[in-house]
């Protein structure tokens, strides 16, 4: 079972108190963008085996969105961090590097 810590209210709870919000750090393409970009934004998700970045919402708690870095194989959570960012913070990346050397995810590594 996935155990997440909400960075907004500090609660540590299992996943049923939260709700997954899909892949993190997706660049949005709206009106005016090319069809390829819009298609990529809507449909091209990575679905990796291993390190993954996701958005989560603490919907049975404080109701805030946040980001989580976790492993899809072991359900190990490397860390959670603010939703108000476009890339994982360095300390989260360092934690992942310590446990999964050589990892990469989209443009991050």
């Amino acid at each position: 079972m996935l155990i997440l810590t909400c960075p907004c209210c500090g609660v540590t709870a299992e996943e049923t108190e939260f709700h997954g919000g899909g892949e993190a750090h997706v660049t949005r393409f709206g009106p005016g963008s090319s069809e390829d970009d819009f298609h990529g934004y809507l449909f091209e998700k990575v679905n990796p085996k291993g390190v993954h970045f996701e958005r989560w919402r603490h919907n049975n708690g404080c109701g805030k969105w946040f980001h989580a870095a976790r492993c899809t194989v072991t359900l190990e959570v490397f860390g959670t961090y603010s939703a108000q960012t476009t890339e994982p913070p360095q300390d989260i990346k360092d934690k992942i590097s310590a446990k999964r050397p050589g990892w990469s995810w989209r443009e991050f590594a």
């Binding site: 907004c8 209210c9 500090g10 299992e14 049975n60």
Partner: protein, 191 residues
């Protein structure tokens, strides 16, 4: 004018802990910058209790201020006093970005009373919360999931616990609590 009633009109159940609908409470949602002096002063004036810290509840005896999220408080006051407090808060915070709403009829409140270990156990059956005495106790406020619905808990004293949930699911919540407190279903986890 219609007569205001609570969701279950004071229904009560005696199991290994007693579960009771506590009747009407005034409840006011206040959103804003909780660290600001304006909010601190307004909350103090309205309830006599300070703005609580993260995941805490301040105040006592039907006059509580609960920390709901980093920018939201729930003020629990007397039902009849709520409209006036709402107006006072709005006036006091008129210069700053905020939201004040009287949500007195939106939620239901249950009180569990009985043995300290019993009520912890009843909640532990329903919520993914560590109810060990060292992990949760008086002064703390926890929003969580109770079976299939969102709920919030706090313990005014060691041997009583309040559960708050949406009014529309009050009957479901009461049935859950009745089941969790059914005589003979003690697990003895905390005793």
């Amino acid at each position: 004018m219609s007569e205001a009633v609570s969701a279950l009109k004071g229904a009560s159940f005696d199991g290994f802990v007693t579960v009771k609908d506590t009747g009407l409470h005034g409840m006011i949602t206040l959103r804003g910058d909780l660290a600001s002096d304006a909010v601190k002063a307004a909350v103090q004036d309205a309830t006599g209790a300070p703005v609580p810290g993260q995941r805490e509840v301040s105040g006592a005896d039907g006059n509580w201020v609960a920390w709901m999220s980093p920018d939201e408080l729930l003020l629990i006051v007397a039902y009849d006093a709520a409209p006036q407090i709402e107006a006072d808060l709005r006036k006091a915070l008129s210069g700053s970005h905020h939201l004040v709403a009287n949500v007195s009829d939106a939620r239901a409140v249950f009180r569990l009373s009985g043995s300290a270990t019993g009520l912890r156990e009843a909640i532990a059956k329903l919520c993914p919360v560590d109810m060990t005495p060292g992990a949760f106790g008086p002064g703390q406020f926890r929003r969580t999931r109770m079976a299939q619905i969102p709920a919030a808990l706090w313990m005014p004293t060691d041997d009583s616990l309040h559960v708050i949930c949406f009014r529309s699911v009050a009957d479901y919540a009461f049935n859950l609590l009745k089941g969790a407190a059914a005589p003979g279903s003690e697990v003895g986890l905390f005793s």
